[in-house]
């Protein structure tokens, strides 16, 4: 019987609320001295006020991880994932309970820790390696590998302050990826860097866990990456373990729950939203849904309906009513405007109305997007005038249809490939190839990224 590599027993972490604790000046302490003394006498009062000023980031968390196991941790923002990792990596101490780690520990809560802009790439590799816990000889032994992984051979003698963000991240990842402790704790670090590099890193991590028998604890919002890497997952919610089990099952339950949280099928109030426009007609609320999906969850490639409630203050003609899907704080990817497309303006009498916009197939890959709505008048020679526009109306979390493959890019594009070889013909291979090509030609539309 092996002792577990990680043993977490009734772990709890309490944080103080309020800003006083953060920048406490000596003055406050002195000013508080009399009340502190009184507080010590009136003990019960003090305790209750203290309880109110605290919040538990984690409470009563128990789990064990066997040596060589790869465990994923999922949960919404603020569920306690980062706090858990901070305790496991000894950056902070728990308020109660304990965490026991058996084996050499390495943690990666950030890439490029200790990187100094004035130092060169090569210098930063050595520095960062030491900070992450590698010995000088280890760094030396893997130096070439690290450089090759980063692909920055030509820039090793350049101070990293002259690097682009991408180069900086690649160098930082490269060092981190060559950390080989027995227990590796990794936070959301894969969220940064481009998709290609993410894939490289995930590859490296699965190599570490399967090939080298390392124990890995992996936190990510990228559920596909979690599914790919971790056979088992823990779902944290409000600082507690909500579920613990096989990843596919946990992720499924988590997604279902999350859909409800991100308001599929429920109305989001827009009356106080940040907006612009003349306001002659205004959006009051928005609600999206996926009527075709058995779970009601909007999915990549599925049908999406967006309902809006609006109030017109006078009689208006709306010649454009657009539903825009965009990357949060980023560019608009889809703008669906059936009113403008149909060239028949909607006429609203004063009062409340409801409009439904349907998108036949959301050809975007799984991920988080923002739904924005806008109404305007104009076109056919007249200047446009915006009645009302809310860019950040509601968040849309698009699920992946089936596959657990990592996706690249934002849009889904039907595509296929055909092979023409110019090497020495070898008849048997060609013959086995033939039926496959025939199938592809027979109308199937294989998409290389997403399986429907």
């Amino acid at each position: 019987m092996n002792a577990p590599a990680i043993e977490v027993v009734h772990l709890g972490k309490r944080y103080q609320l309020g800003e006083r604790e953060q920048y406490l000046a000596l003055r406050d302490l002195l000013a508080d001295a009399p009340s502190r003394l009184l507080g010590r006498i009136k003990h019960s009062d003090d305790e209750s006020s203290r309880a109110r000023a605290h919040t538990w980031a984690l409470r009563g968390v128990d789990f064990t991880v066997a040596p060589g196991e790869v465990l994923g941790i999922i949960g919404n923002n603020g569920a306690g994932k980062s706090t858990l990792l901070k305790i496991l990596s000894r950056i902070t101490h728990p308020t109660e309970g304990r965490a026991v780690m058996r084996g050499r520990m390495g943690s990666l809560l950030e890439v490029g820790s200790g990187f100094h802009p004035e130092l060169t790439g090569a210098e930063n590799i050595r520095l960062n390696g030491a900070i992450l816990g590698m010995s000088r000889s280890e760094v030396q032994a893997r130096f070439d590998e690290i450089v090759a992984f980063s692909g920055l051979e030509r820039f090793l003698d350049t101070p990293v302050k002259r690097y682009s963000t991408g180069m900086y991240m690649r160098l930082a990842f490269a060092v981190a990826a060559h950390l080989e402790p027995e227990i590796l704790v990794v936070d959301e670090v894969l969220a940064v860097g481009d998709a290609e590099f993410q894939e490289k890193c995930i590859g490296r991590m699965s190599e570490l866990s399967t090939g080298h028998g390392r124990t890995v604890l992996f936190v990510s919002h990228n559920l596909d990456a979690v599914k790919q890497l971790c056979p088992r997952s823990i779902w944290l919610e409000n600082g507690q373990v909500r579920a613990d089990g096989p990843t596919s099952e946990i992720v499924h339950r988590y997604l279902q729950q999350n859909v409800a949280l991100t308001s599929a099928g429920s109305w989001t109030d827009l009356t106080a939203a940040h907006r612009f426009g003349t306001g002659e007609v205004r959006f009051d609320g928005v609600c999206f849904g996926a009527p075709d999906d058995p779970e009601g969850a909007p999915r990549s490639g599925g049908r999406l309906t967006v309902d809006v409630c609006l109030t017109a203050r006078r009689h208006v003609k709306v010649s454009s009513l657009a539903v825009k899907l965009s990357i949060p704080h980023g560019p608009v990817l889809i703008s669906a405007d059936p009113v403008m497309d149909g060239d028949v303006p909607l006429e609203f009498a004063p009062g409340e109305h409801r409009v439904r916009v349907e998108i036949e197939s959301v050809d975007l890959n799984a991920g988080s997007y923002t739904i924005g709505v806008s109404m305007a008048r104009g076109g056919s020679g007249r200047a446009w005038s915006v009645f009302d526009a809310v860019d950040d109306a509601v968040q849309l979390d698009l699920g992946s249809p089936l596959g657990s493959r990592l996706v690249r890019g934002q849009a889904v594009v039907p595509c296929r490939s055909s092979l023409t070889s110019f090497t020495e013909p070898s008849p048997p291979t060609r013959r086995t190839d033939a039926p496959r090509r025939a199938r592809a030609a027979a109308g199937r539309r294989p998409s290389p990224r997403t399986t429907r």
Partner: protein, 281 residues
């Protein structure tokens, strides 16, 4: 058993509990992390003089310029006695350890805040951070000492056998700088007031330290109290070792004890506060 490890590596067990309850920082963990200390020191030294026009010459210029000013003000104008020695070398010999101490103290006190990213994102014994600040300053002192030797050649002053004790005096200065530096660094995390206190403290401290004057000016009955300032013992020791100025054993003893006490108190306070650095910084 992990088959992948080739050596007979016994798993290192780490337990993270609410509080370790220890009085002092874990010195074995500190020893295990000496690589990080080395690299952080190296980084501090390297970065300090990168993109400066004259680079490490600053380490020499700082005490040298102070020497020139002190010579003009205290020797030429105020006629402060210098134990029969040329005043420039008399004061420079004190400025070498003093510049080290004041710089090390200032850097150590601000070190945790400066390295906030490391404190909140990576684990290694926290004491390494102020320690690296002090170690980096040692390099500067080494450079400044070379100038001292050149000046001794210039003035034709022969060193005494006391030179073998110089490392001891450096150690005393280090103990005081680490102790007080760690204490201030820890307090700085919670009370940002420290940021304003430190420059003021260093400014005042030089007046109760025999840098510009000789400690023989201090009335004999107050010498013991004067020696409570560990830098008094260190500077007298330097003057004794390099320039042959008579040294009182009692002064050195008192200074050694205060420096040790500073180190101890600094480490205890640091240990008590370090658990919450990541939460409070």
């Amino acid at each position: 058993m992990t088959e992948t490890t080739v050596d007979n590596y016994t798993p290192l067990i780490t337990v993270n509990e609410p509080s370790s309850g220890k009085l002092l920082p874990d010195l074995t963990a500190l020893a295990r992390s000496r690589e990080v200390l080395y690299f952080l020191t190296w980084r501090d030294v390297k970065v300090r003089y990168k993109q400066t026009a004259i680079g490490a010459a600053w380490a020499i210029l700082q005490p040298l310029i102070a020497m020139v000013i002190f010579t003009v003000v205290f020797s030429h104008w105020a006629s402060v006695p210098s134990e029969g020695l040329p005043y420039p070398i008399f004061t420079y010999c004190a400025l070498v350890p003093w510049t080290f101490f004041s710089t090390a103290l200032t850097l150590a006190a601000g070190s945790l805040l400066l390295n906030e990213k490391l404190v909140t994102k990576v684990y290694f014994p926290r004491l390494i951070i102020p320690l690296a600040a002090v170690c980096g300053t040692l390099v500067d002192m080494g450079l400044a000492t070379i100038v001292l030797v050149v000046m001794m050649l210039f003035y034709g002053i022969a060193p005494t056998i006391g030179l073998v004790f110089v490392p001891l005096f450096v150690l005393v200065a280090c103990a005081a700088a680490v102790g007080l530096g760690a204490l201030l660094a820890a307090l700085n995390v919670r009370f940002r007031d420290v940021r304003y206190i430190v420059p003021f403290l260093v400014q005042l401290w030089i007046f109760v330290t025999p840098v510009a004057y000789s400690s023989s000016l201090v009335p004999a009955k107050w010498r013991w109290a004067y020696a409570l300032n560990p830098m008094v013992g260190v500077i007298e020791g330097f003057r004794w070792a390099f320039l042959g100025v008579p040294l009182s054993g009692g002064t050195v003893a008192i200074s050694v004890v205060t420096a040790a006490a500073m180190l101890l108190v600094g480490l205890i306070v640091f240990r008590r506060m370090e658990d919450t650095f990541a939460d409070e910084i």
